[in-house]
Symmetry: C2
Subunit: 406 residues, 2 copies
């Protein structure tokens, strides 16, 4: 069954026009543009013959009317501030197009439900929509969640006039599987010439804040051997981490020292304080545990060698989420049938699929990102690759349905 | 000839009360407190029998009336914001007290001129007072100098109603030598149990800004070998510098990576930009030149290894200033006569003496800093050490006068 490329691309471009910013999109969760996009999407779903609603969290859900058993296809239509046109939106419009194709084909074996989750990007609360859909109790988190500029999530939800709406819930009796397509957001597909990424797992993430505390001495009058240089310890930690991590992980293990801050930050004062923010990602819980051990051990070594104190705080610890192997195989098979070179790969970024897979079989498909870029107005994928991704996803779902949609 | 400890300490405490902040002093150049302190000082000088004036730059100068040939004793009475009570002020009151002692002794061999230079700390223009005293042409710099909060030096000078006053100038026919006493601002004297530091030279300073430029990639989706990590290069540079500098300098060479800043500074984004501020100080021009060579070589190595670009900018390059050896010997001799253990040492910080020594023989004497602290309200020196320092300085000047004040 062929998808209709022109219709797919036209809808993607129409969605990108809502909150357009240069060649990208500025549509943070609950912004006017985000809510307008969700209204647009609900209408599109209704035109496609789905029973569509926006739930109390902002999730847009289009329900196949005549089906008891469905495949859910979706992603999110919110963006980071001044982000790209594809991150999230592409996966949602794939769902819309595939729902239309399946309906038009008259297939009765299984319906397609389409969903756009709310606030995947964490403007207020990351994965708000998919977590709510999956039945997480979010009451306490919603009470306290705020955006970076201090707006509360509760106010944002009220402003969008959503709280009266019913919540849409995952129902394993209805929802047989979840498929999410997404741009890769990295350079692997492009640099290897592959067109389809078959996601094996979404990496787990351990994020750390390290605080080294020394003494703010005069950098001219304090001999080197009498210093307690918090900055020196922090640079040493970052450097040792870069040297030692490769031995712990595999070729797909990644880490990043993303920020470093010195106090007082004067060229002529030995830093009294150095704050380091770093992160490790891998699909293996064992590698992540070993990485945490390494971070703590190196922090202690550097603190001792620079005669400073250190605190290591784990800010954030997400477990890796393996995708359902049987579904991944269907994507691989669909790609092969359509002559699209594919590669198995981890997802280095978080996605709604990592929430949903806790409850029902789930799979992710990546298409190439030009230059590996994302979260930026220059984020892009060629039309040919976008169309091919949708076609492969539709074929994988046909294969799933042919297997009896278990 | 004995100084009068009670009078010395009482004057120091009276001066510290002007702009007092907790146990320290907040008296930045041209602040109300600074100008009040200068008025107070001018009165004190007049009471000591000196012809005293505040010049157009804010320098307070007390001139020995009946002398054709004088020793200038001084330092500065401005402070860093919320600084200590001794940095600068002690050296000025030493001058006042010694002028009184010499006058009271009826000595006719040589007079004492006392000076408090303006803005040594660089609230607007570092060493404004001593540079003006020495005849530097400052017209262009005064035109553009601003404080950190955007106040112009010209406005500050006008507000203090100084521009009408005459400038006080160094006159080598009158001014035979310059002596400046100061707190050490470091821990060497205290930790070695010495009471008097005989300054051999004021270090030269080379300050650098390094800017590494990479690519802001997603830290989850970009494989390690495809990154252009500006932060990694910056940490590597700081670390290599700490490892390699000891081989270049001597035990008194110091350096400091005082600030580091990443952009965008997000834990999940590979830093596109890392800015490093560092400084090297030594009394040897050869060591400083070699250090600059090392900084530039390491920056290039780190940039290459992290596949980023780097710019190295020399922000500031002050040459070392050797003090006059014959005068240093007199301080050493005076300390020995008075039973005060002394040590020769470089000054790791800049002082007005490094300006004045370009024109007339100059010397500096240090007293111990408790805990090595300065530029902070906790800056302190014991009364006993303050009194001993003044006594040693007076004795050194007596020895200088006995030599004929050449």
């Amino acid at each position: 069954m062929p998808i209709r490329p022109d219709r797919l691309l036209a809808d993607m471009r129409a969605l990108a026009a809502i909150g357009q910013h240069m060649t990208g999109v500025n549509r943070p969760a609950f912004s006017d543009a985000d809510i307008a996009a969700r209204e647009w999407l609900r209408n599109k779903m209704m035109n496609a013959g789905l029973a569509a609603e926006i739930d109390c969290y902002g999730n847009v859900y289009g329900r196949a009317i005549n089906a008891d058993r469905t495949v859910v296809i979706g992603s999110h239509s919110d963006t980071v501030p001044f982000g790209g046109w594809l991150d999230g939106a592409m996966g949602v419009i794939y769902g819309l197009e595939i729902a239309r194709c399946i309906t038009e084909s008259g297939s009765q074996s299984c319906g397609i439900d389409v969903i756009s989750f709310q606030d995947e990007e964490g403007t207020y609360l990351p994965f708000l929509g998919s977590r709510a859909f999956c039945g997480d109790n979010l009451t306490a988190e919603i009470e306290t969640a705020k955006s970076k500029d201090g707006q509360t999530l509760k106010d944002a939800m009220s402003k969008a006039a959503l709280p009266g709406n019913a919540a849409v819930r995952l129902d394993p009796r209805r929802h047989a599987a979840y498929f999410e397509a997404h741009i890769e957001q990295g350079p692997r597909l492009e640099s290897s010439g592959r067109k389809i990424g078959v996601v094996t797992a979404i990496v787990g993430i351990k994020s750390f804040r390290l605080l080294f505390r020394g003494q703010a001495n005069h950098a001219g009058t304090t001999p080197m051997d009498m210093r307690h240089d918090a900055g020196g310890a922090a640079m040493c930690l970052g450097n040792l981490l870069n040297q030692r991590m490769p031995a712990i992980g595999g070729p797909q293990t990644v880490w990043n020292v993303g920020n470093m801050r010195f106090e007082p930050g004067a060229i002529n004062v030995v830093p009294v304080l150095a704050e380091v923010f770093l992160q490790v990602r891998d699909i293996s819980p064992a590698v992540l545990a070993e990485a945490e051990h390494l971070v703590r051990a190196l922090a202690a070594i550097c603190a001792e060698s620079f005669k400073v104190d250190v605190e290591v705080e784990c800010l954030h610890d997400t477990e890796p989420a393996a995708m359902t192997p049987a579904l991944a195989k269907l994507i691989e098979k669909a790609a092969a049938e359509l002559g699209a070179p594919s590669a198995s790969m981890p997802s280095g970024a978080g996605h709604d699929a990592m929430i949903v897979v806790r409850h029902i079989p789930s799979a992710m498909l990546f298409v190439p990102s030009i230059g590996g870029r994302s979260h930026h107005v220059s984020e892009d994928t060629s039309d040919v690759d976008i169309v091919l991704g949708a076609q492969v996803l539709l074929r994988a779902i046909e294969l799933f349905m042919a297997n009896g949609a278990r």
